[in-house]
Symmetry: C2
Subunit: 445 residues, 2 copies
């Protein structure tokens, strides 16, 4: 993309309404614009990152055999009355009537609807196990929306649901989801720590939240520092293997790590003192096992191998897709702007032309731009007629992890400059070598 043709309305001033750094940087980098309180439009740069995050979520769910589908944003209140949650859910659920005066709502979660789909179509244990998920917009009518996309009213969420014959099978699904989530977050450059949590309005006994450590996190968290040494990495795993998934669950949850909701001071005391940590965290996902909480009232039963009708065991699993942009920025920024991890960066590399209008420099930039595109990369070429300082500031603000600077002085020596946004370190090399270096960097991503 050529910046001269891209819609990137960066702001020079800090917007006064933004209290936290991710909100401030997303506004300044022209990624979002508030439409009304807690409701945002995603401008081209923000939308690009949102799609990258969505794609990673899809890929990791597909790897585990989970099937994507999509449920509507607007639902009738009927099913929610059947499960008993219509009245239980508070004022955060957006309720209204349609033109025929029927009670409708903007769905905050979809346990009821997916259970209805299941009960209408599945009647035998032979069709189990089954896991389906969607990435869909949700609405939660927060009384005080704030922190930009971190606590907005309209937000994009991945919500998945598993249906299993027995509690053991459903716990395998629970463990399998933990594995998929660990991989998902790591691919986004995040460390998200599974912590024992409270189940809230979803219900059930077993639940873990995934928290990214950040000063601006909404939850106080207590953990054994050994959990931050764990890394899922690129290990191969058989998602159908009960043992493989249980081993990962054990490895990542056997040390103390809890949110304030479930914190147990006495247990925490047993962690060696030098490893006890109290910090703040941003919740980016949660997994639940809630057994037959929905299948019983909604009559989601199957015939078991013994011919008896039994309610299925279920769980649900969520990732806060739009809020992840905020979390990633909270964990990856400096005083000059965002620093995107390679896995989610909106453009792979920026090209800065130090002397726009100079024939040789323009030509070298064009050639570099085309060479990068020919190798399948998506570069952002700053071809505006601006001073170098302004171009560098914009690139730093929007946070592309790599920048190639092209100027007449370097070209005389046959080199361009490749700079890491994270370390600030630069190397001089030929344009061809710069393209090769970019290819190496992204080879494993």
């Amino acid at each position: 993309m050529r910046l001269s043709r891209y819609f990137l309305p960066v702001l020079k001033e800090n917007p006064s309404e933004a209290q936290i750094v991710s909100h401030r940087l997303m506004l300044r980098a022209g990624m979002i614009k508030q439409a009304s309180a807690g409701i945002y439009s995603w401008l081209p740069l923000g939308f690009k990152v949102l799609r990258k995050i969505e794609n990673i979520v899809h890929e990791e769910q597909a790897r585990a055999g989970h099937m994507p589908m999509l449920m509507p944003t607007i639902q009738s209140a009927e099913l929610w009355r059947e499960s008993g949650r219509y009245d239980a859910y508070g004022a955060e659920m957006l309720r209204f009537k349609d033109r025929h005066d029927r009670d409708m709502l903007f769905t905050p979660t979809a346990e009821e609807l997916i259970t209805d789909i299941f009960r209408a179509n599945v009647s035998s244990y032979k069709d189990l196990p089954l896991t389906m998920y969607q990435i869909q917009w949700k609405f939660r009518d927060e009384i005080r929306p704030r922190f930009g996309v971190m606590r907005g009213r309209e937000f994009l969420m991945k919500d998945g649901y598993n249906f299993d014959l027995t509690k053991e099978d459903a716990l395998h699904a629970y463990n399998r989801h933990l594995v998929t989530y660990l991989r998902t977050y790591e691919r986004m450059g995040l460390q998200a720590i599974p912590m024992r949590a409270d189940s809230g309005p979803i219900g059930g006994d077993d639940t873990h939240e995934f928290l990214v450590l950040a000063e601006t996190g909404e939850s106080e968290v207590f953990y054994d520092s050994a959990v931050t040494d764990l890394k899922f990495g690129d290990r191969e795993i058989d998602y159908d293997s009960v043992e493989d998934c249980a081993a990962v669950m054990e490895e990542f949850t056997d040390k103390y790590a809890r949110t304030d909701e479930t914190h147990d001071a006495a247990l925490f005391e047993q962690v060696p003192e030098d490893r006890r940590r109290v910090a703040r965290g941003i919740e980016v996902g949660q997994i639940f096992y809630f057994g037959t909480k929905y299948s019983e009232p909604l009559g989601a039963v199957v015939q078991g191998p013994d011919g008896k009708q039994v309610p299925v065991h279920m769980g649900s699993h969520g990732i806060g897709v739009s809020r992840l942009l905020g979390a990633i920025i909270e964990a990856n920024h400096d005083e000059n702007g965002i620093i995107w991890p390679e896995g989610v960066t909106p453009f792979h590399v920026g090209i800065v032309n130090l002397r726009q209008g100079d024939e040789a420099t323009d030509g070298a930039c064009e050639a570099l731009y085309k060479a990068l595109k020919a190798k399948g990369f998506d570069p952002l070429y700053d071809d505006r007629d601006e001073r170098a300082g302004g171009k560098f500031a914009a690139m730093d603000l929007i946070g592309l992890p790599w920048r190639i600077t092209v100027g007449p002085r370097g070209l005389k020596n046959g080199v361009v400059e490749l700079t890491s946004r994270r370390t600030g370190e630069s190397v001089e090399l030929t344009a061809e070598a710069a393209v090769d270096r970019i290819a190496e960097i992204y080879a494993g991503i």
Copy 2:
């Protein structure tokens, strides 16, 4: 995907609520399930096709340099009062109050909001031209929703908006969109004829609707049969060239083709009698040029080259993404089910194992499945323990364009059978040759 693990709840009976064939087949093929009146869940098979259609729309918009972004589904009523459309829009707009008693609505279209984004960020003609678009869920509270996804209440739409300095520039954007739409529909295997239409609540003088001919179409259409001979094909076009785009517009709209809203009997009489056609059509898209209808009331002005402030010229452009599934099926089916065009088929090819449990046949199917996946194809392997008749009926119903049948008798002679869903013709060939043939078929798609 192995069918034994896929959620594909096909129905044997015709659902009584479905009046038209696409609705009936989408329900029977397990693509959708009604959640409430005019509101559908997209089951895995339906969601797959929806995503393919979305991707084609994205690719063709990107080719023309249009930028994807995303606006929220819920908007405040404020901007709609500013444009004057809040009261003008009828009961089809879903209106409600949030918990702070503010008037909100589920957006049926986004001219106001995109104009607000524009006016907040663009002030010079130097930032023009600009075209942005989104693919987002809309809601239209139809009094009598029917025909499944063809006339639902919650529907997925691509809506794009262009901002230009002059009427001439905006008309180029109009022509450019016509070109992108022609390519988009053809890639989906559809002939969509641009017809002069009425602008309705969007407003403006210049508007064309794109109609797919089908007996079940909601509009009566009148056209010169010569328009059905036109094909965009894979011609190369420079989207920045005013002449190139205008020539395509001329070629595709100079013959008589109108919907009943703009039909002119006297003009139609001038078409040679043997080429006059009266038929029915399904509307799958519409493009508008409406000048300064929104930019004036909302104050979307830029400084021109002469230093004067002028309101920008705008247009908007829509594709009915979810309704396209219905339109494609209306135009592509037979008495046994759907016949997907290769460009949008949910799976590239089906594999039918005629003797599940037979070691040699199972082995040959597995090898074929892996060979297809290794070449980047997405096969659906019917590995269920079912009779051949049931497997063929399911494959015909869900409409994969190609089927490979593997049985013990053929394997004895070293062959499998490749069958075209459209023609019913079969050829016997080796498994390797079948894979090569599939690769050839999809090479141009």
